[in-house]
Symmetry: D2
């Protein structure tokens, strides 16, 4: 197992990262990425302190409802969580392609074992560029619109294409590259699944996420832990050696990867949705009290609506655990029907819940001054004077709640989270020690 | 009438503006404010080119449905629009307080004439700090929680308090300070309405809005024109001479100001809501076509939903114009019932429409690379290769649509607009020449 | 023009009406139909009193917004309203098929003139049996699943098929039979439009509507005027003489009929939707007051929601009138975009509004005793004692409101209206003198 | 245990039932009530066949999740179900008032034992007339607006008042009379809970439910089993002997009854809501297939919406069972938070789901002819010809589905169920043998 600092050291390789048109020389020192690296460092240390048995259990698929619940509720950063989802995806997909491509299944299991032993982090690369989305891969004007094998050598394959919406690649070690959809006969070159190191020659990561804009971290409690930059990863004729090729050409096996990923994202995502819903309710109640409006009828009605939403989302989580599905190898997965209903509801009404929260909080959710303003001796005392709300809450507490809501819902981090929520992805556990 | 450059020169006064804990020496040179100043400069020039008759008509309350519609559809920046709403508010409130405080009414009309003659810009200052929002002004622990008169002299009054959520004060000349609500007997000191110059001694403006974070303006087409910083304005014992005092102590007149402001915000805001709704529909259709998904059933369904929303909002605008209310002095105002229904619907479902738009656009709404990335010779051609969508649309057009949606809904400007929309405020006309 | 009694006499023909498996000998004496006949008699008398100019104007397509509004707001029973829609449909369709089948256009105009002169009532017959709805007419297992010409003679055609969901045929004189959809080459036999007398040999009307179940009419204020039985009309080889054949075989003209009908139903339906929405609001407010709950927060919130719905529906009506579309012949029709939005909203949220109304009214909407119970000397006084609500409303008024809500939403009449509303059809004007 | 016929014989007492202003001489022979009696007879026979152990278990509060689930899913008619809820209410309330009124608790337990031994059926009487609902009992113009004790004798009390919305009293043996709400000091006379026999002197039941209107039972598959007449029960100075008085004057105990009833209605109601939701989904899919429209995009979208609703409601049931609350005596009750969320959602969106079902089914849900029409030799064959839908479904099956939807949602039975659903009450199990 690596310590946090060993992890930090491991990022000093030849990765090609771009940000706003320039090459990022060292992600560990770049303002946009350093904070994410720090969050990952802290999680490495936390796991290191717990010992290798915990990590080993972590890389074993859950065989009971309790194990599944433990995993969903563990205090992990998002990089670790994505690594777990990726590893589970490979183990599940290995079972599914076993009969058709046994050597691929063996490679995948070995690869996961290697990840565990070296304590590496891996991210999911699935969505292709896709070109005209109404056309299949072979009908595209540009044959590279979907990632494909452009050359087959004795010792491996060369791949070309792009994968979009990739979270955290600049601070990870590995990338799991899998087909974005089921493939048909004739799409053999697109039926490619493999592992690629982040610093492999030909990999170019154009990063478009953005830190909170130059502001004091204290104004951004969620950004400190939860922000994930997202990238556009280009595979510009990247060589992949045979021992990293999971699938190559078996079109009927292509869907197994995306489907397995879906299972494990669902297994993880609903925990995050339920937590996020509770978080919104908590912030709404806190700010209503700080404003002295917790008894106003229209405020109570909105909070009731938020509680209903949170309860329904959690109901689906609980129902999906109560009726878990046991896979042939004993792995437990949340019941698909309940989990899908929960993820649909969680995404469909999330924006409305944020609207409720903004309505309850009032305009200061945008206009509350920053920590730096409060520290200015000339205006700080005046701000504290005029931001005082209900007696007993404390003006600094009230300011913190406003900052938290702003950071969670209106900052670049916040809108990133909203979109991720819409797609059913989750962040690290809300109550993380890091976020406090 | 001022030219744009004359306006720019007029900002070189002693105003006290703070941003992130520091004094802003000159708003015309500060990155956060310079762009807003530029937008205002352009609007000054546009109006100057149209001549004084246009401006004069502009400061005359609309006496016909056509005049009202012309005003709503005029191509103005947000600073000019706010100035118009403020001037109209004063003229309407003057009529209403005439019998109780004739000298106040006369002062208000003279003041509006002065604004017109000097071609000044004025912003609305209404919302107080409010402290515990369940308590009235006199019951607050801090008597300054609502702005009040702390001293009355022969030549004027001294006021103390704060006004929150104030848009654009750092680049305006004047502030219209009015009571936030109806006042009762015993609340005489809070029944104060007056005009204060932005650079008056004791005025401190803490600004919390933020430009789009350090990025290229080409990635932010809406921020270039539409962003309005918002401030926390402190009146730290500011002296107001009698000739600028509109109301002082007549509690029964206090509500006339906020109510008049409401009428004129409504008169203006619904035009903006209807335009904004159409803009969302247009972006949704454009990006669906660029992705090659405009015929997919789930996409068409969402766009239909958005069209329904836009049509309903515009129905209320048209119904409120068709049934305008004529005020005693001949001024025409939109029918209140229809306009209120429209503003409610427009705000209630706005977040859901944005969610639809994000759903239709897909993940690239967040992850599409920036203009600077495209200009990098190493990765630019690869980006253009992989961002190509449906044939015939053009990859640069597709990138622009993604940037527009991102800027309108996810950037700090975008979330500012969303919150403003929630409160029924509008931005300058969407199809402004500036925004192209 | 006919008087009411002349109309009543005109129904004594050989029409074949079936109800619950038996032939109805005389609709004027059958409990299910007599009340509808009575309502039509009253409307005939009302129009007769207004003189022939009114009826003549009525049969002229509206050439101005005012004429259109007058028509929409006229106090007519549903049979007359359907007759108007049918006549307008024929005149509009005549213009549209003129170039392709001039003799058909001439026949249609003569036919409408005859309707007007003889003061007859005509109903719309459009929906075919359709069989497997995923198949076209010629692909059906049974070629009669869509009504068709089975024989062409020198003096006319013989038609076979069924038309479904036909309102009021048992008490009308004529039926307008038109294609249910656009037709394609090969579907010549299905491209048939014509007029058929209700008592023509071979016509069989199976009626499935039902009166309010044997109860006192005073408990059913809406059923008294507004109930429309609906039928399943079978054309069992019915001969139609040439002078009643509008279209026969011109497939490219078939769509003109259904589209024209859509225009006129829309022109009429939105008035009804707006009135119905207002009616629901009024009943909600009345029963809230009668219960003493008009100030309860949850009741006010629901009524506000209902007012919003009613205002939005009416907004679309007003906007569609303000932006009327002038057809080539000068006829004014409501703007299609606004009207469609209104009808969508009106139908989509109607059930929710009824739910609000039931919630506000409470359980007595079902369990309030009947007029006959009140008249029973043993229990009547006890009912009046225990149904007393808020002082000042009067127990009998309160009972009437409960009965009205029950009849409008829960009785067979009520659910019939709900379904009709869903499909955009209207009833006679709510404030009809008959309904009082 | 009684057989069905013994139960039928037991109804031959002196009960005073009124319907449409007339006394019902014998409910067993009156068309409105006979069918309900028949359904109860069948359930008695079914239980009798299962033996006394089953009934004994039935009257023991559930001590495990499995027992709770078994109860929720048992195949019982609504009368038996209401009896169970009443008995459980009394046992739970007995525990709660034990310390304050031990003799009352003892009487309640004895009484439940008597119910079990004699195999009697009991209904819930809770809602008072209430007069002006904004006023408390003692402030009402009529002191009898809430049921109260008007005289206290050595051997019992005399009560006066009315209880509203009472289901099934005409065919039950006993009534559980309990306070409608918490009581305060000064409301001693209103703090009365007791048991009253249906045929006790002074009890008058005015019944307002109604059978399906004179139609063939085969057209009304749900009404046959599930319809519950509802009544207005008047207690016109009814003497209640001491051994039937549970509470008299202890105001602080009054709330225990209504709260206990709420617990058990919730325990039972959510099962019914989840079943009802599934039933709607099933009918929607069946009729879509019978119409040949199961693949149309708009139909699939609506069915998906209905499945989502059904899945969310069932999620809350499953979550409430997974997190059951154990009461001090070991009784298991569904988790309150999840169950309340489920009942809210179940009621809030029910009308919308019915609207979806009507939309999918099309107009024949109202206009499909009746069984009697089909049996008429003249028109029957024509109906079967024209009601034929998709090949393979069978026209009689299609007709049955239309009848089922009509009966479930549009008949008097159907609207009764809709309102009951809104209030969280349930019917007998949907898949009852009786209903087939």
């Amino acid at each position: 197992m690596m310590t946090g600092e060993e992890y930090r050291a491991s990022l000093g390789d030849k990765r090609r990262i771009y940000f706003r048109g320039k090459v990022v020389e060292d992600v560990r020192k770049h303002p946009t990425f350093a904070r994410q690296v720090d969050a990952a460092v802290r999680c490495y240390d936390r796991l290191h302190a717990q010992g290798s048995a915990v990590v080993e259990a972590f890389f074993t698929p859950p065989r009971s409802v309790e194990a599944l619940r433990r995993r969903g509720e563990a205090d992990l950063d998002i990089l670790t969580r994505v690594s777990w989802t990726s590893a589970m995806t490979l183990l599940t997909a290995a079972d599914r392609i076993e009969s058709r491509r046994p050597q691929g299944a063996a490679i995948m299991r070995d690869y996961v074992r290697m990840l565990q032993e070296k304590d590496l982090r891996i991210v999911e690369c699935i969505t292709d560029a896709k070109g005209d989305r109404s056309l299949s891969p072979v009908k595209q004007a540009d044959p590279d619109a979907y990632l494909r094998v452009v050359e087959r050598r004795r010792d491996g394959v060369v791949i070309r294409g792009a994968k979009l919406h990739i979270a955290l690649a600049p601070i990870a070690h590995e990338m799991m590259v899998i087909p974005t959809k089921a493939m048909k006969p004739g799409e053999e070159d697109y039926s490619i699944a493999c592992a690629v190191a982040v610093d492999a020659p030909g990999v170019k990561i154009i990063n478009v996420g953005s830190e909170a804009p130059g502001a004091d971290p204290r104004d951004h409690p969620f950004a400190a832990d939860g922000f994930a930059s997202h990238g556009f990863v280009i595979f510009d004729d990247v060589f992949v050696p045979n021992e990293r090729v999971f699938l190559d050409g078996e079109t009927d096996c292509a869907a197994a990867f995306a489907h397995s990923l879906g299972l494990w994202i669902r297994a993880d995502g609903l925990f995050g949705m339920a937590d996020q819903a509770d978080l919104l309710v908590g912030l709404a109640q806190l700010i209503a009290e700080a404003n002295g409006l917790e008894k106003a009828a229209h405020v109570r009605e909105k909070i009731t609506d938020m509680i209903l939403y949170a309860t329904l989302v959690r109901s689906t989580l609980e129902a999906s655990l109560a009726h878990c599905e046991r896979m042939p190898d004993g792995t437990m997965l949340p019941n698909e029907l309940y989990a899908n209903a929960g993820k649909y509801l969680g995404a469909a009404d999330y924006n409305l819940m944020i609207r409720h929260l903004h309505d309850i909080a009032g305009g200061s959710v945008q206009t509350a001054p920053s920590v730096l303003d409060v520290e200015n001796p000339e205006i700080g005392p005046l701000i504290l004077k005029y931001m005082e709300g209900k007696a007993g809450v404390g003006v600094e507490q009230r300011l913190k709640i406003f900052q938290a809501i702003r950071d969670l819902t209106l900052s670049p981090t916040g809108t990133y989270r909203t979109i991720a929520h819409l797609h059913g992805h989750r962040f690290s556990r809300v109550q993380s020690a890091d976020a406090q």
